[in-house]
């Protein structure tokens, strides 16, 4: 029962949803399968900060994350206005600051950005220029870095908006529909095989059958409400253990995260991690002391040994995975590349690193 242009996407995380939208908009009839409900609060995409910060991420990421992620800024900015529901986003840049004892972390980031040739995106700030950008910090920090082309999008608004848009543009969405098996161009659902022209597997950690070395890296986040704090843009704190962002969200909300722990435990946020995150917020702005703790959450990021995503082709199935902590940063590049392949059956020249063979480690 193969039909012209019938494409299946499996998994409704940020990657699956954006993949479905790109394909639906290039003339395919997309059916999206998701084993969980439409509340979309069960996977790691819903726990993420939604940072689109390719250059800040160079503090810990491989260079490709910045190269590929830089393309995401334009993709998000072109997609967001076309969605059927409003989504909070901002592209006001990211401010990186460090407490005195962590300031070598700033030097490290600046050196790495320069070494990889991205210095045009970076401004080195003095106490004065930092105060101009974020007056509420009142000169508490003596130096900082500013990455002007960066941004963020609120996952809690984006994911439902993508679902709504897909539906209104004619995609078929099947929630609570577990896919039992995936093979070359076909899916087994409720013990029956269904054929498609293309299948795009975006299952993340659930795809261990295809990516045996994939591991979960635990991340914990917090949501605070702090009416007395005014920040214009996400702040990234240099921290000895974790890459921590403090992201202003509508209605005086602030998102803090995320930790990175080599653990596949799905326990709730630990006291140690909460202390790390809250003291980061409090040291940034004393008015966080009066903030309400709205929520804490923990989830696992699907991580391959190169800490970069990969695409594996098996006939008419493309398996996409390994976005690790870069879901919102790298999903556009990964989905654009896969959509290009579905359209033309050739890989774009710069995609070599994506469809690398299985890692040995």
């Amino acid at each position: 029962m193969t039909k012209q242009n019938q494409v299946a996407v499996v998994g409704a995380g940020v990657l699956g949803l954006i993949q479905a939208l790109l394909l639906q908009r290039t003339g395919h009839q997309v059916t999206l399968f998701e084993r969980e409900s439409e509340r979309l609060d069960h996977h790691c995409s819903s726990v993420a900060a939604g940072m689109i910060a390719p250059f800040c991420e160079l503090n810990e990421a491989e260079p490709e994350a910045a190269l590929w992620g830089a393309q995401a800024l334009a993709v998000w900015q072109s997609i967001l206005p076309t969605l059927k529901a409003p989504v909070h986003s901002s592209f006001e840049g990211t401010l990186v600051i460090a407490h005195h004892q962590d300031r070598t972390g700033l030097q490290y980031l600046a050196e790495r950005v320069k070494h990889l040739g991205f210095e045009h995106s970076m401004r080195v700030l003095s106490r004065q220029t930092l105060r101009e950008l974020e007056p509420e910090l009142e000169g508490r920090f003596a130096e900082g870095l500013f990455f002007s082309p960066e941004g963020e999008v609120d996952p809690r608004m984006l994911l439902p908006a993508l679902v709504q848009t897909l539906r209104s543009e004619g995609a078929i969405l099947q929630f609570q529909t577990p896919v039992e098996d995936i093979q070359d161009g076909k899916l087994r659902i409720h013990s029956e095989w269904r054929e498609f022209e293309w299948v795009l597997d975006c299952r993340g950690l659930a795809a261990r059958d295809i990516f045996p070395n994939i591991r979960g890296v635990r991340g914990e986040v917090m949501l605070l409400r702090a009416p007395d704090v005014q920040l214009r843009r996400p702040i990234r704190m240099v921290h000895p253990r974790y890459p921590l962002y403090i992201v202003p969200r509508p209605d005086h909300h602030f998102f803090i995260g995320a930790t990175a722990v080599e653990s596949e435990s799905m326990r709730k946020t630990t006291v140690k991690s909460a202390l790390d995150m809250l003291s980061a917020a409090y040291s940034l702005h004393p008015a966080f002391a009066e903030a309400e703790i709205i929520e804490t959450r923990a989830h696992l990021r699907p991580t391959l040994s190169e800490h970069l995503p990969a695409i594996r082709q098996q006939g008419r199935t493309l398996h996409l995975n390994g976005l690790t902590r870069h879901g919102y940063l790298l999903a556009p590049y990964l989905a654009t590349t896969a959509a290009h392949f579905v359209q033309h059956q050739t890989w774009p020249e710069d995609a070599q690193r994506l469809h690398r063979p299985q890692e040995s480690a």
Partner: protein, 263 residues
């Protein structure tokens, strides 16, 4: 001749570099750094959040496939009880009796807690562990650790992650001179390959480092630089450096120089 084998903790090694596994851009970069460094021992910190319910299993099993000896580390422990629990878990998970014992006494400098360190070392030695204690360069603490049954000492060069090099070469030389037959490894504070060379020139058996490689712009190339610097330091130690002196000595004899040129 530098690549002669040496023994430590019941194992025979060629490399004198112990490499930490934290803070690399990716597991793959770590793998390549280990390869280019030639390191045969890597340390793995076993944190409580990873060991609860063995939730870090997948990460550890990847490390186990790298073909190097694993030296588990009680990183971040502040009490004897914590250190003992972590050590027991490490023995089970990595199937090794080796343990790098870290009991931190000060949050700011991450200085080892000398009293608790000795207490934990005593207990672990009794329980059959091969204890690699991370200690200061204090000779009295060193003596107590040896009395507690340790066969290896790992004095710091400088505080963890500071990259300052050997802050107190005098104390490190004293340790080396006092304990010529004990395995001594400089652990922590190494920032540049020249620091590692200096430790090996003094006769230290090995160096343990992490951040200097992991946070280099190119960790894989830096790992190689360390391998070479350690080899240079070891060669220099074996060759026997000339003694330093306060006045210049011409390397060309002056006998043939006309007398009016002599002052």
């Amino acid at each position: 001749m530098t690549r002669q084998t040496w023994e430590i903790g019941g194992k025979t090694l060629r490399s004198r570099l112990f490499l930490g596994t934290a803070r690399y851009p990716s597991l793959e970069t770590l793998r390549q750094a280990i390869e280019s460094s030639g390191a045969e021992v890597v340390t793995v910190s076993l944190r409580r959040e990873s060991s609860t319910e063995r939730a870090g299993e997948r990460f550890w099993s990847t490390l186990k496939t790298l073909g190097v000896h694993i030296l588990p580390n009680t990183a971040g422990c502040k009490t004897v009880k914590e250190a003992l629990t972590t050590a027991e878990m490490a023995r089970e998970i990595f199937e090794t009796s080796w343990i790098k014992l870290e009991v931190i006494g000060d949050d700011y400098t991450l200085q080892p807690h000398p009293f608790l360190l000795v207490e934990a070392a005593e207990e672990l030695n009794q329980r059959g562990f091969e204890v690699f204690p991370y200690t200061t360069d204090d000779i009295v603490v060193a003596e107590r650790l040896l009395q507690a049954g340790c066969k290896v000492l790992m004095p710091w060069g400088a505080p963890i992650g500071s990259g300052q090099g050997l802050n107190n070469p005098f104390a490190l030389k004293t340790l080396r001179a006092r304990y010529p037959n004990t395995r001594l490894i400089v652990d922590a504070g190494i920032g540049k390959p020249s620091h590692a060379t200096q430790a090996l020139e003094m006769g230290y058996d090995a160096v343990l480092l992490n951040t200097a490689v992991a946070r280099a712009i190119d960790p894989v190339v830096m790992a190689r630089a360390f391998a070479l610097s350690i080899e240079a330091g070891r060669l220099a130690f074996l060759a026997g450096p000339m003694p330093t002196q306060d006045t210049a000595t011409p390397s060309t004899p002056v006998t043939g120089t006309p007398f009016w040129h002599h002052s």
